[in-house]
């Protein structure tokens, strides 16, 4: 009996240790933008899920492709049906780590480098980007701007409309994570 209790205590302790210092959000912002003479594209969602593990310097992100909204409804339909195939590949995920130190318990903006694997449309690519993490009370606020090209993720664009979409799309990510 005692042994079982002890084992359970050990387990709980290690789990607590493993999951400590985590920050999470359920309404992370992701937007991507393209501007060409022919067409403007804007798509945004506030339904991203993100976790930052401060101790391990790990972070993960997941967002539903169908959650992106466009000002033009037809564009949103094409995005889901023809380009991202969201029925087949419903999520985009990021899994990685950041390099750079966050001073414990002190508010401020810290510049970090985020590195990891971005998965969408069934393709996983390593990405690296500069980002900032801001500590504000019990929150960690992550912010990053980076570029991706649709072709890298096997998203084929017909030549007829290719010049309407920028070769490399600007992506904005904003996550306000609360301590778990």
């Amino acid at each position: 009996m005692k042994k079982t209790l002890l084992a359970a205590a050990c387990l709980i302790l290690t789990l607590v240790k493993g999951y400590g210092q985590q920050y999470m959000t359920r309404n992370g912002f992701v937007g991507f933008y393209s501007k060409t003479p022919a067409e403007d594209i804007k798509a945004e969602t506030r339904q991203g899920f993100a976790i930052i593990d401060e101790g391990k310097k790990n972070l993960a992100f997941a967002v539903l492709i169908k959650g992106f909204t466009f000002p033009k409804e037809l564009m949103q339909e094409h995005f889901n049906e023809n380009y991202m195939e969201s029925d087949k590949y419903p999520k985009a995920t990021f899994n990685g780590s950041f390099a750079g130190d966050l001073a414990p318990g002190r508010d401020g903006v810290y510049h970090v480098t985020v590195k990891g694997n971005l998965t969408m449309h069934g393709v996983t690519k390593p990405v690296e980007m500069p980002a900032t993490i801001e500590r504000k009370g019990n929150q960690l606020i992550g912010h990053a701007v980076f570029h991706i090209s649709p072709e890298e993720f096997n998203v084929s664009i017909p030549s007829l409309v290719r010049e309407k979409i920028e070769k490399s799309l600007e992506v904005h990510v904003d996550i306000q994570c609360d301590q778990k």
């Binding site: 084992a7 387990l11 789990l15 493993g18 033009k72 409804e73 339909e77 889901n80 899994n95």
Partner: protein
């Protein structure tokens, strides 16, 4: 037992260490994403608001305008002198406008009997994916048509006699690679040729779209007019097939059908040629979408 105890603790530590790796972080967000996902409306059940002749459950987005060209050549069995129908043509031009995302109005003019038509269409329910959502999309459509062709020996034909109405309840469901719709119709023609013919008719139409590639699909529709409603002329049920291709804001369809008209009050109850004797019309549909609102045109600011 005592010997195994430290080993057990060690294993536990090891296990929890493995569990706490970054892959868990990903599965954690993945799980919470999956768990919190609410049913979402299904989009793109059909590519356009017209399947071939029949309307679909789709409506035009708020502030967008759809320009529809429906073109049918003459009958295939009209012989070599008529170049198997290609010398003749029937055309319907239509404009469809989205007042809101769920309310569309449209007007059309077709060369068949010089007919004007107008309709209004309401998206009542949208199919939702995910558990517990609405299983089908439901759209209500009401249309009115008036043919203006002169018949010198039928001077009694006034505007009232020339008018017809059709009301359709469009039930549609999108499956993974194909979409189906079932459309009960009520049709009213103010004037019919003989007393034996019915002014008020009911019909049941079915339509399907099968996706072959991301931008190509095959469409089919069949309009069943219940028997003994039109008796003075021999009418056939309209059966149509189309090969559909989409590029950007265009939808293009190559059509084979035995219906010459493209107006619901005419093609459902008044199709007089049949597939059986080669009374087939070859043709095409082109739909072009325009965004009229300024917020949709210029939306990106750097």
């Amino acid at each position: 037992m005592l010997m195994r105890f430290p080993l057990m603790i060690g294993l536990l530590f090891l296990a929890s260490a493995v569990v706490a790796q970054d892959t868990t972080l990903l599965s954690q967000v993945g799980d919470s994403l999956t768990n919190s996902t609410k049913p979402m409306p299904v989009t793109g059940t059909f590519k356009g608001i017209y399947l071939i002749q029949l309307q679909t459950n789709e409506t035009i987005a708020a502030g967008a305008l759809n320009f529809e060209i429906q073109h049918r050549f003459g009958q295939l069995n009209s012989g070599a002198y008529q170049f198997f129908g290609l010398d003749n043509a029937t055309l319907r031009l239509g404009l469809d406008y989205g007042i809101t995302d769920w309310w569309t109005v449209g007007i059309g003019r077709s060369s068949y009997l010089k007919t004007f038509d107008g309709y209004t269409k309401f998206k009542l329910w949208r199919q939702q994916d995910g558990g517990g959502g609405m299983p089908i999309s439901v759209t209500l459509m009401g249309t009115i048509s008036n043919y203006t062709q002169n018949f010198p020996d039928e001077t009694y034909l006034n505007a009232n006699y020339r008018t017809g109405y059709a009301t359709q309840l469009i039930l549609a469901r999108k499956f993974k690679f194909f979409s189906l719709e079932l459309v009960p119709s009520y049709i009213r023609n103010n004037l019919v040729p003989t007393v034996a013919d019915k002014n008020d008719m009911v019909a049941l139409s079915g339509g399907a779209r099968v996706r072959i590639t991301k931008r190509m699909s095959l469409d089919g529709e069949y309009n069943y007019l219940f028997p003994n409603q039109v008796v003075s002329t021999k009418v056939y049920n309209a059966l149509s097939f189309a090969w559909e291709m989409e590029t950007g804001g265009h939808v293009f369809q190559l059509v084979f059908t035995n219906a010459q008209s493209m107006v619901p009050t005419q093609f459902i109850s008044g199709t007089t040629s049949s597939w059986g004797n080669g009374g087939i019309y070859f043709g095409f549909n082109i739909a072009r979408n325009f965004n009229l609102t300024s917020h949709a045109k210029k939306s990106v600011k750097y």
